[in-house]
């Protein structure tokens, strides 16, 4: 593998990792938000 191929591979990997970090990070944020709303609803006192 020459240097160009190695760099290309690293950049493609970085792009895929960044995509998954953003998407899974957002999913985690949604999960936390959903749990907080459910807790509020269950407590009957939304404050």
């Amino acid at each position: 593998m020459d240097e160009r191929s190695i760099l290309d591979h690293q950049f493609v990997t970085a792009a895929y990792v960044v995509t998954w970090v953003i998407q899974l990070g957002y999913l985690a944020y949604l999960g936390l938000k959903w749990r907080a709303e459910k807790r509020k609803a269950r407590s009957g006192n939304p404050r």
Binding site: R4, S5, L7, D8, H9, F11, V12, A14, A15, Y16, V18, T19, I22, Q23, Y26, L27, L30, K33, W34, E37, K38, K40, A41, N45, P46, R47
Partner: protein, 235 residues
């Protein structure tokens, strides 16, 4: 039953995501001109295209909210939840587009960023919807939803401008692959990989859009309950 259906759908989404990843990394051939770096397009192009779709959902939600806010407040709230969910998921996809694009550009062009029409209009689109989300997060009062709906409608005007930017102006960004001039197009071996990834990211997007919508509806219910309790306490 509903939980089971959502779980089943989530399993299909995961299977599609794994299949799309496998196709993009191991099946798709390298582009003759660009080499291995071309594999970024299997994540970059679906992110860009699908962000348009989610901003369209936000547009429909915003129009629906403004149309029904007086005649049918309950329906208007549902539209508002779609508007917010569409904007948020659209921003997530647009963020992916704006981060994978420069990674590709650095290798293909030798630069991370250039102020050409496609890149600039995409950045403006992202900024408009980030401001929409900030408005919803930090502003208070009865007019917030109306103001956000107006901003959502104006923000959507940028979507066709982004789409047409590399047709109207000469840009450094590559010419359109689909729907371009006679020379546009893609090798079938690459096209089917792109379509699989389009499908898998669409399925993923629908899943998180639905989750965001349900969360917002729950939030609206809690806020309504809170307002009713405050009123009763005063009486």
């Amino acid at each position: 039953m509903k939980k089971l259906a959502v779980g089943f759908y989530a399993m299909i989404v995961v299977a599609l995501m794994i299949w799309g990843f496998y196709q993009a990394m191991y099946v798709a051939p390298d582009d003759a001109m660009q080499g291995y770096i071309s594999h970024i397009i299997y994540y970059h192009v679906p992110a860009a295209s699908l962000s348009f779709l989610f901003f369209a959902v936000s547009l429909i939600g915003s129009i629906g909210y403004l149309s029904f806010r007086r005649s049918n407040p309950e329906r208007a709230q549902a539209y508002d939840a779609w508007a917010l969910a569409g904007a948020e998921v659209g921003v997530v996809y647009c963020t992916v587009c704006l981060t994978t694009g420069p990674l590709w550009g650095r290798r293909a062009w030798g630069i991370w960023w250039t102020w050409d029409a496609r890149l600039t209009t995409t950045l403006v689109l992202w900024l408009i919807y980030v401001s929409y989300l900030l408005l919803r997060r930090f502003a208070a009062g009865p007019q917030v939803q109306t103001l956000a709906a107006v901003l959502g409608i104006f923000g959507a005007v940028d979507v066709p401008i982004v789409y047409m930017s590399n047709r109207w102006w000469r840009t450094q960004h590559p010419a359109p692959v689909f729907g371009g001039n006679g020379d546009s197009g893609m090798a079938p071996s690459m096209k089917h990989v792109l379509l699989w990834n389009m499908l898998s990211w669409l399925a993923w997007g629908i899943l998180i859009l639905g989750l965001r919508y349900r969360t917002e509806r729950e939030h609206q219910k809690n806020a309504h309950q809170e307002a009713m309790e405050a009123l009763e306490a005063k009486i």
